[in-house]
């Protein structure tokens, strides 16, 4: 459980950073003259919290297989999309005029979600490389071989 919470905390910070980048890019191209208030700074944080809720809820004590993990990841992604869209457009009711904006937000959520997975994969790859090196050194130290032999 501790590892799960730690993982989601890391995800939260990555999500907040990615949302800031997405807002910057979308804002620059779609509404360059838009003035935003201080309250806008809360949007990435709130979206970040909403984005990690499905991950926290879907904690499983069982050892999941890779297939189950993929299915879980897809369900989690759909849940994040629904939650963010409901939070962004649900209060004012979904209007036809907002269709383009809904599409942009849905796409942004997908981009952020994939980015989080890619960043985590990149961080884990570095960790795995270090572990492989340590493993080799450990085995060589025990067998008396020199690295590379």
């Amino acid at each position: 459980m501790k590892e799960h919470i730690k993982d989601n905390l890391i995800n939260f910070f990555i999500i907040v950073t990615m949302i800031n980048i997405v807002i910057f890019i979308c804002g620059t191209f779609m509404a360059p003259d838009q003035n935003i208030t201080y309250a806008a700074f809360l949007v990435p944080i709130i979206d970040g919290i909403l984005g990690v809720i499905p991950g926290l809820v879907m904690y499983s004590k069982r050892e999941l297989t890779v297939k189950q993990m993929i299915v879980r990841e897809i369900i989690q992604f759909v849940m994040v999309e629904i939650i963010i869209l409901l939070f962004s457009f649900g209060f004012s009711g979904f209007k036809i005029a907002d269709l383009k904006m809904i599409g942009v937000v849905a796409l942004s959520v997908a981009v952020v979600y994939i980015s989080v997975l890619l960043i985590r994969f990149f961080l884990d790859s570095r960790k795995a490389k270090k572990m492989t090196d340590d493993l080799k050194a450990f085995q060589n130290a025990l067998t008396g071989d020199k690295p590379g032999e």
């Binding site: 799960h4 050892e63 985590r120 960790k127 795995a128 572990m131 493993l135």
Partner: protein, 147 residues
């Protein structure tokens, strides 16, 4: 049970002889214990009993309350529980890497990321076993501290 220990000449191979009325569970436990001390683990395959050298074990897995020992190509069933193996083989570089697997570190070849904070460990025979999130840090510490 009477225990008789006698010294023998250094030229003769050491042995243990058990005198019993019937080969029951108690006798099998003694045999298993001695074999474990000697660096062998007993396991069964197709009803036949085998003695597997610890150095040939790749990993030990628990599935549905049964314990299986995996060597390079074979799989043997054993009555010993996974946690017992963890204690018994801890000083022989066997380490728990998930709820159901104890791995022989010396048979691990490389580590790569799997989904969701887990890692996949490739063994020298090409097989892959999962290091679950909870056991990643103990695994990391184990292989880095002893070098």
């Amino acid at each position: 049970m009477k225990i008789d220990v006698k010294k023998i000449d250094g030229s003769i191979e050491e042995y243990i002889e058990i005198g019993c009325h019937a080969r029951d569970g108690r006798v099998n436990d003694i045999i298993r214990f001695v074999e474990n001390l000697d660096g062998n683990i007993s396991g069964t395959k197709c009803g036949k009993r085998y003695s597997i050298p610890v150095s040939e074990i790749f990993y030990i897995e628990s599935v549905d309350n049964k314990t299986f020992i995996y060597s390079s190509k074979d799989c043997f069933e054993t009555a010993v529980k996974l946690y017992e193996f963890e204690e018994l083989l801890g000083d022989r570089y066997f380490l728990r890497i998930s709820k159901s697997v104890v791995l022989n570190i010396m048979k691990a070849e490389s580590v790569k990321p799997a989904l969701n904070g887990r890692f996949s460990c490739r063994l020298v025979n090409g097989e892959e076993v999962i290091i679950s999130r909870k056991y990643v840090n103990p695994f990391k510490e184990f292989i880095s501290k002893k070098v």
